[in-house]
């Protein structure tokens, strides 16, 4: 039984191609990334790498490659969220490094 399930899984994985991202997927991912980056900007803590990923996402989308565009947008969102985390966690933590 287990062998047959494994065989079926492998067959499906080999035959069925990964679902391609659509323009709508890209737009949703990009909007989320842009919103996070806007928040990072309000905290005066945007990262250059986030900006690069946003630009890469737009470039890929313009050429119709929504897989790459969606991946770049998701990465941009993750980076923007990390920069927000950094800014909020550094709000008081900077004092730890101060010379006294």
């Amino acid at each position: 039984m287990k062998k047959s399930i494994l065989a079926a899984t492998l067959l499906i994985a080999g035959v069925v191609p990964a679902l391609a991202a659509s323009e709508a997927d890209f737009k949703a991912a990009y909007a989320a990334a842009e919103a996070a980056e806007k928040e990072a900007g309000q905290l005066r803590n945007r990262w250059t790498t986030t900006e690069s990923d946003l630009k890469a996402a737009q470039k890929s989308a313009a050429s119709g490659n929504f897989d790459a565009a969606t991946a770049s947008a998701k990465e941009a969102e993750a980076l923007a969220k990390a920069s927000i985390f950094q800014a909020t966690s550094e709000k008081d933590r900077w004092k730890d490094a101060e010379i006294h």
């Binding site: 990262w47 990465e75 990390a82 950094q86 966690s89 008081d92 900077w94 730890d96 490094a97 101060e98």
Partner: protein, 288 residues
């Protein structure tokens, strides 16, 4: 997977810092601001860390940390790479605006020998005014367009003004005005706050690691770092202002730089200059 790879070191660094220093943070948060005590502690930190470096020599940045580099620099100083900027700055400074006035009309003592007093806290405006900002305000007040804060003309002008102050001790004042103290504190906070994907603060390089290397670059101590500005940097193949220094440092940590002369940078310059009070102006300088 790639994202996780990028974020893991940042999260680990922040978590470690949080665990080790949470108690100290709670104590520091309640400590009232005392710029004079800050400056004393700041200067002591560097003199303790580098007991062989003469105090006045900290203004020479990486050259105070490394004997071989120092010898090369002394040879370079015989034909200093900033000399062209100095000449250009002198010419610009004395050339009248269209209305017949010059930069000298905008500054105390005709702008000569005053670099050590900048930045200052303007009680009317309630903000810090840097020399670069004052120069552009002078231009605008006389009907001229402002010039770029990060390009050659501004570097040339400040090079000339710094040269006329060489040897004079940095003399930054914090007036008895809570807004001035707040600006100083904001500058300090900016200096110690980690930013950018590399999670570096100004202090990560210039307090915790002066004399160490990042790739081929020897890191300069924060003490006296602005006294040598503006600088000719071989890395830039040209001159750079304090604004250029701040924005390029931010970029190197993968942080998007703020606008030159934003409040944050003005306050940072105020803090960093104040804690170097007493050290001589040595600008314009030359750096690798």
């Amino acid at each position: 997977m790639r994202v996780r790879h990028i974020l893991r070191p940042l999260a680990a660094a922040i978590a470690a810092a949080a665990l080790t220093c949470a108690a100290a943070s709670a104590i520091a948060a309640e400590t009232p601001a005392d710029p004079a005590a800050d400056a004393k502690a700041f200067q002591k930190y560097f003199t303790d860390k580098f007991p062989k470096v003469k105090y006045e020599d900290f203004v020479n940045g990486p050259y105070s940390m490394n004997e071989d580099m120092r010898k090369q620099w002394q040879e370079i100083e015989q034909f200093p790479p900033y000399e062209f900027a100095l000449d250009a700055g002198k010419e610009m400074f004395s050339k009248p605006f269209k209305n017949g006035k010059t930069y000298a009309d905008c500054f105390p003592n005709g702008g000569i020998g005053i670099r050590q007093n900048y930045p200052y806290f303007d009680e009317k405006e309630g903000k810090v005014v840097t020399l670069e900002l004052a120069l552009n305000r002078c231009r605008e007040a006389n009907g001229e367009a402002p010039i770029s804060y990060v390009k050659d003309d501004m570097a040339s002008l400040t090079a000339y003004m710094a040269y006329t102050s060489r040897g004079k001790p940095m003399s930054i004042k914090i007036p008895n005005d809570p807004r001035a103290l707040a600006a100083y504190e904001d500058g300090k906070r900016y200096f110690y706050t980690r930013r950018g994907q590399l999670n570096f603060s100004c202090a990560s390089c210039h307090v915790q690691s002066p004399g160490e290397h990042i790739r081929a670059e020897t890191l300069a101590p924060a003490l006296g770092i602005l006294n040598a500005m503006p600088i000719y940097r071989s890395e830039w193949s040209g001159m750079g202002t304090i604004s250029r220094r701040f924005t390029s440092c931010n970029s190197q940590t993968r942080a998007v730089p703020l606008e030159p002369q934003s409040d944050e940078y003005r306050d940072l310059e105020y803090y960093l200059s104040y804690v170097s009070n007493g050290l001589p102006i040595s600008g314009p300088g030359a750096r690798p």
